[in-house]
Symmetry: C3
Subunit: 342 residues, 3 copies
């Protein structure tokens, strides 16, 4: 069970109610009234707790689980131990997400403007906001309703933030427009100067960075991630795109809708990323290139050319993923052959 | 046009005045008195706006631009549409930087010491500084003239900062000496302990980190970049060197003058980098090695040996860039041959 | 000598006292009463200063050093210049660490609760703590004795911190339990949401992150490093593990005791790292895998499969390090052969 100092639990729920909420079928109708008090991982769940199986690496844990119920894909029904209540769905992870949200509803911030926050008089704060001690809201800033601005966050002049947004402690926002339901985690840096200059041995000449950062609705920006503002055009993070921690987004980058970038990846200036693109951890995308809709980029790869829609690329420099796998297989064969010849 | 909530525009300027300021020649003297109100990218500029062509990827945009004027290299004159006023120069990007600076002068901070900043009484602040709310200036700190310290930045005891410096929100400075005209962006970490210890299974033994960080004049340190202080010697960032975001500089590293490091690159402890070295994004340089003046390091490469002056290295481990290109070409040929044989 | 504005020096010490403190033997008993005033690197030390030789790259500096004394391995005795006092030990770097600690004792913070810190009334602060201006201690927080919380750090509700801990400026702690003698550097992010969601083109579904971060005794967490809290299980950093700067630790990761991770490395969600594992700079470890006790991972490698205890892996994807070296050697031979054939 989650530490109740940090997390407030709801429930209990009976299985039929959970099934409705999470879009799953009860496998055995006799289980419909069984009561569940919590969600828990397969290897720690008890008889009144609900778990889930999504990643096949955990089939063993599923077979041995002491959970009372489990959310699973139809293909795993035959592996269930007798007595385990099953909620069956094509997307167990999504259903688990919704079950966990049932027990632990995403909480609205308790409205309160701390007397220790500094809010410039010509800024505008919406209804039911929570603004914590040490937060700085500069002149001309507009903040929507039900926003939560944590301690020591800094929102610079004329920034606009929509409704239902979260800005974590020590995050800094400048030269940017933020949509609704955007979550910006601790220490994220939004809107600072892009890295634009004309280099020369006798001194680099700074190019004024005259664009903004636009973050559309429903985005997440991870802790200590940096999004530089545009040099003229804006830098844009499209609707529903989620960035993990410690990511670098260069100036003028356009990211489409619903993309996912894993930790420590980066995109150099002026590149364009389509919709629903997945970028693995520590991957890098060069500047001035285009990544098509639905493309996938393997973690740690380095992409230096355009990727057509829907393809998966890996390697340094990045190539279609099958080609990259053949390269690595070939290399390991070659060194075995090399040893034989010796 | 840049968002006028964030950016104040100057001008208009006639072409001859711009030509003087940016070191370019007017191609057709009849254009000398044409008036320009702003700078803008090729694909969005209008008839009273000035654009530029530097990267050949944008030649198409140049051919179709509706800009009134454009800064270009002599080799592109023949591609210009009739009526387009041309400012011709060998370095269009530098000239564009100067034109943008004409329209959007780099602004001096409005002098003001916030009553919500905490400035210890035995620190010293120069003339015409701007120190914002929540900034902490500790005991013994010396800050020069015309510095801008943003909200919630922390400058620890006895740090010295020169004239005309910028320290972004939530940046932290300790055990360091900062030159003139240095820009330290949001969340940068300067001067914390280097990662020095003698490891052992029964507990690592900490090596006291007794050096400082020296940042010479005219440097830029990007957002969330970390520069550890030396272990005995100082860590040094040479004059005019620019670091992008999320970079790691280990203890005792010496970087020369005019270097450029792109985002998420890193240098391990005690390595020495010459003058005017370029290091690509996500590249890594091992500890205790030397990189010669004018060397270039390809993004994502891993350098584990010294690089002589002027050479370009790429790959993991890094080799001369031609060799690395041959390696990747060879690999892609091999897998094609492999397929044929099958 | 270390800058005395930043560092307070102890001593002088005679060689026999230093030998006792650092676990080394005096090579020539006649040197026992020689007095030393400071530690210093080989190339800058003077006749009253003590230096050390650990990395063989610095043998030349050792031969030419003007230091009065030097800590060395027995194998280097024959290289010493006449008159150089020698402290001989099997672990010169550890002995140097202890010598430097003798001259520059790790300082306890001067107890003081700043009137400009915000400490919620229902939190609990131990004895002899130093809590600086702008620090935020939220409701229900418990902090042990002799802790040092720097300016503008934020400790969120119900977090517990043990005795003798350091929390650097602008670091943020939430949903976490911190042991004793833990050092968390500037801008580190501990306890924010893990990157957990079920992705879909019509919107990602957030998985509530219901675990905590547990940091055991004697850990170091580097500047701007991020440790996400667990999704259900906790994220755990084992006793005595040291993380460098800009590291990403995903949710549910378990790291054992005494591990070392160099800068900009990362571990994806739910992976398990054994005891005393070394991970090089910019290395990445995929999610849901296991790294055995005592394994070593070469910098910049990408590990996608389990590593048995004690082995060293390198490359992308990671393979046993000898295999990786053969791969890179093979490639460089192939391109030479390729040239000959042409």
């Amino acid at each position: 069970m989650a530490d109740n100092r940090f997390f407030k639990i709801s429930g209990p729920f009976i299985l039929s109610e959970l099934a409705d909420r999470i879009g799953a079928e009860i496998h055995d109708p006799k289980d419909a009234d069984r009561s569940f008090v919590d969600v828990s991982p397969l290897n720690t769940a008890g008889p009144e707790e609900l778990s889930f199986l999504d990643n096949s690496k955990y089939v063993k844990d599923f077979i041995g689980t002491k959970a009372g119920g489990c959310i699973i894909h139809p293909s795993n029904i035959h592996r269930a131990r007798p007595g385990l209540a099953l909620l069956v769905t094509d997307n167990p992870y999504k259903s688990y997400a919704l079950a966990a949200q049932a027990f632990y509803p995403l909480q609205k911030p308790k409205p309160q403007i701390s007397e220790h926050a500094l809010i410039q008089s010509n800024s505008s704060i919406g209804n039911e906001c929570r603004i914590e001690a040490g937060a700085i809201i500069s002149e001309g800033v507009k903040i929507g309703d039900r926003c939560h601005i944590e301690s020591n966050a800094v929102i610079s002049a004329y920034v606009e933030v929509g409704d239902d947004c979260f800005v974590g402690s020590c995050a800094t926002l400048s030269y940017c427009m933020i949509g609704n339901r955007v979550r910006i985690y601790q220490g994220a840096r939004i809107g600072q100067d892009g890295f634009g200059f004309s280099p020369a041995p006798d001194g680099h000449t700074k190019v004024p960075q005259l664009g903004r950062v636009i973050i559309e609705d429903d985005c997440e920006i991870g802790a200590n991630t940096c999004v530089d503002r545009g040099s003229g055009p804006d830098t844009v993070i499209g609707q529903g795109t989620w960035l993990d921690n410690l990511i670098q987004i260069g100036h003028n980058v356009k990211i489409g809708r619903g993309c996912v970038m894993a930790g420590q990846s980066g995109i150099s200036g002026s590149s364009e990323i389509g919709d629903f693109v997945f970028i693995g951890g520590q991957a890098a995308i060069s500047g001035h290139i285009k990544i098509g809709d639905g493309a996938k980029i393997v973690g740690k790869s380095g992409i230096i050319r355009d990727i057509p829609p829907g393809l998966t690329f890996g390697g340094i420099p990045g190539v279609p993923v099958r080609e990259w796998h053949r390269q690595t297989t070939m290399l390991s064969h070659l060194i075995k052959d090399g040893k034989k010849i010796k």
